[in-house]
Amino acid sequence: MASEKKGAAASIGGFFKAIGNYFSGFGTAFAKGDAFVKLSALWMGAGYARRKQYVKAVIMTILEVAVIAFTVTFAMQYVPKFGTLGTVKMEKVFNMKTMKSEFNDYDNSFQILLFSLFSFVVWAAFIVVWMKNIVNAYKLQKMEEAGEHIKTFKEDLHSYIEEKFHITLLTLPVLGIVVFTAIPILLLIFVAFTNYDQQHMPPTELFTWTGFTNFLSLFGGGGLTTTFSYAFVRVLGWTLVWAFFATFTTYIGGILLSLLLNSTKTKWPKMWRTLFIVTIAVPQFVSLLLVRNFFSNGGIVNTICANIGLTGFLRDIGLVSTSYIPFLSAPGWAHVMIILINIWIGVPYQMLIATGVLMNLPADQLESARVDGAKPFQIFRKITMPYMLFVTGPALVTDFVKNINNFNVIYLLTQDVYTTTNQAMANSQAKEVDLLVTWLFRLTQDYYNYKMASAIGIIVFIICAVFTLIAFNRMIGNGKEEDYQ
C-alpha cells in the first residue's frame, strides 16, 4: 500500500518538480542573459538574430506577430465578457434606416465561453514557447561565449529525427488530443458551474455562473431536485457493478478460450478461431440490435421458451409475472442479460489479444517448469497469468474505464425497449439499466440539461480518477517495464 502511494505521489511530485525547474531555468536565463537575451522578451527573434540563426529568428517573429494579431482581432471580442458570460439578450429592434426589424448586437454565452477558453489555451501555449525561447537564447549566448559550434538551421532540423525525435512523433497526436479532448473537457467543466439548460439556451437566452448549485442538487441539497441524488446513487452503483463484471468476465473468458483453442489437443484450431471471429466481424450495432430483437418481449426466444414451458415454469416459481420473459425490459433480468450478452460480444476480442500475447510467452520458463513437474494449472497461475497481466495490465485498467463509459452495449440493447416504472428515476430522466454515460447522453440530447450532465461527468471522473491512477502507477511504475525485455 505504501509503495502504491509513493508511486502516485512520486509521479505527481515529479510533474511539479519539472514545472519548477522550468521556471527557475527561465529565471536564471533572464537574469544572467545579455542585452539580446533580455530583448528576446520583447522581440522573440532577437537572441537568434544575434547568433546568426536567421531562419529561426524569422519564424519566431512571425509567430509573435500572429499571436498578437489573434489577441487583438479575435480574443478581445470574447475574453472581456468571460466574467459575466454576456449581458445583452437577443432582441428584435426596429431599424429606422432599413425599415425592418433586426436582431440587436446580442451576446452568445456559449460562444463567449468557448472562444475565451480557446484564447486562454493559445495564450498559455504561447507563454510556454516565450519562456522556452528566452532559455534557448541564453543557452546560445553561453555556447557562443564558450566558443562552441552553434547549430545551423539544417542541423537543428536534423535533431528532430535524432535526440528530439519524440517531439516529431508526439506533436500531431498531442495537438489532436488537445483540440478534440482536452479543450472540450475544460469547456464542460466550466459548464458544470453555470445554469446552461433548456431554459437558458443560447442564442435566444443567456446563461451565467452559478457556483456549486448543480453539485448541491446532485447530492440532495437542493430541496426540489432530491430525485437527482436518488437516481445518481443508483445509476452509479449499476455502472460500477457493470464495469467490474464486463471487464473481468471477458478478460478471463478470453484467456481461457485462447488457451483452449491453442491447446495441442485442438483439432482444426484455425477453423474454430475463424468461427469465433465471425461473431465479432459483424459490427456491434448489427449484432446488438439483432440480439435485442432476438430477446424482445414478443421475439423468437420468448416464443421458444413459451413452447417448451420455461415461461410457465418461471411464472409458477414467481420469477416472472407477465406472459413473456422480460429479458431486456425488467430490472434484474435486463441487468443479467446485458452482462451475458456482453460476454458473447467481448470474449472473442479478448481471445484475439490473448492469443497474440500468449505466443510471446517466454518458452524457456514454460519448458523448465514442465521439466520440474509443474501441473498445467500451476503453470497457468505462476507463469501464464503474471505474463498476461504484465503485457495487458495497463489495457485492463483502460478496459475498466472504457466499460464505465461503454455506451454502445447499453444504448443499443435498451434504448426504446426498456422503460422504467420507478417514478423517482423517471423524474430525473434516468433508468435502472442506465450507465452514467447513457444518462448523460439522454440528459443532453433529449432534455438539453447540459449543466447537470457536466456535473455528473465531473463527479464520476473524480471518483474513479484517484482509484485508477493508483492502479496504473502500480502496474507500469516501479521499473517493471524492463523485466520482460
Binding site: A18, E162, I177, T303, F407, N408, V437, F461
Partner: protein, 284 residues
Amino acid sequence: MRKMKGNRLSSIVMHNLLIAVLAFIWLIPIVWLACTSFSSYSGMNTSTFFPKEWSIIHYIKLFQPDTVAQFPQWFMNTFIIACVTCVISTAFVLMVAYATSVMRFPMRRPLMNLAVILNLFPGMLAMIAVYFTLKSFNLTNSYAGLIMVYSGSAGLGYLIAKGFFDTVPRALCEAARIDGCSEARIFAQIVIPMSRPIIVYTVISSFLVPWMDFVYAKMILNAGISEKYTVAIGLYKMLDKSLINNYFTMFCAGGVLVSIPISVLFMIMQKFYVEGITGGAVKG
C-alpha cells in the same frame, strides 16, 4: 498402454466437443441473422427460427434505393470515412506508443499520467462540446468533421501498442544506434517491421470505428439527409418503431453485406497477426 491411449483419445474428444458447443452458442445469433435475411417476409419472424419461405428479394431491394434505404451510398460513405480515419489513427497510435515506450525524455511520465486522466472522462461528455465547436466552424453534417471526431484523439489509445513495444528487445535498438542509425530509422526500419501484429491490431480497431459507431455519426450527421448517412445510422433508422415491420429483413440483409468485407479483412489480418509474432527477430 492401450488404456492410456483410450484416455487420451477421450480427452481429445471431450476437448473438441467443448469447443464445438461453445462455437455453436456463439454462432446462434449470426446464423439467425443470415437465415432471416433470406426470408421473403419483410417484418420480424417471431414464431420460428428459420424463415417459412426463402427468397433473395430483400438483397435485390437493397440495391434499389428508396427514400429510407440507400445502402450502396451509405456503404461508400462509410468506406471513405473509414479509410481516412484508419490511416490517421494508426499513425497517431504508433507514434505515441513508440515515443512513450522506446524513447526516454523528461516529460514522458507526466504526459502518460495526463493521458490516463483524460481517458477517465466520459468520451460522451467531450463529444457534446466537440459538437458545438464543430458547429461553430460549420463542420457538422460533413465527413471532415466526422473524420476529425474519429481520429483526432486516437493518440490516447496508445497503451496496448505500448505494451507490445515494451517487449521488443532493447539490444536491437542499441545495436542500431551504435551502427550510427538515426532514431527515425530505428523506428521506421527496425521496430515497425518487427511489430506487424500490433500494427494489424491497430489497423483493425481503427478501421472498425466508423463501421461500428453510430452515436457520433448520429450527432454530427444530424440533418436527416439519408444519402449522407453512414451504414450504421442508415441501418439503425430502419429499426425505428414505425419502420421495423417493413424493413427488418432488409436490415438483416444489409447487416450481412456489411459483415462480409469486414470478415474478409479480419481473416487477412488474422494471418498477419500470427505470422508477425512467430516470425520475429531476436525474441526473448
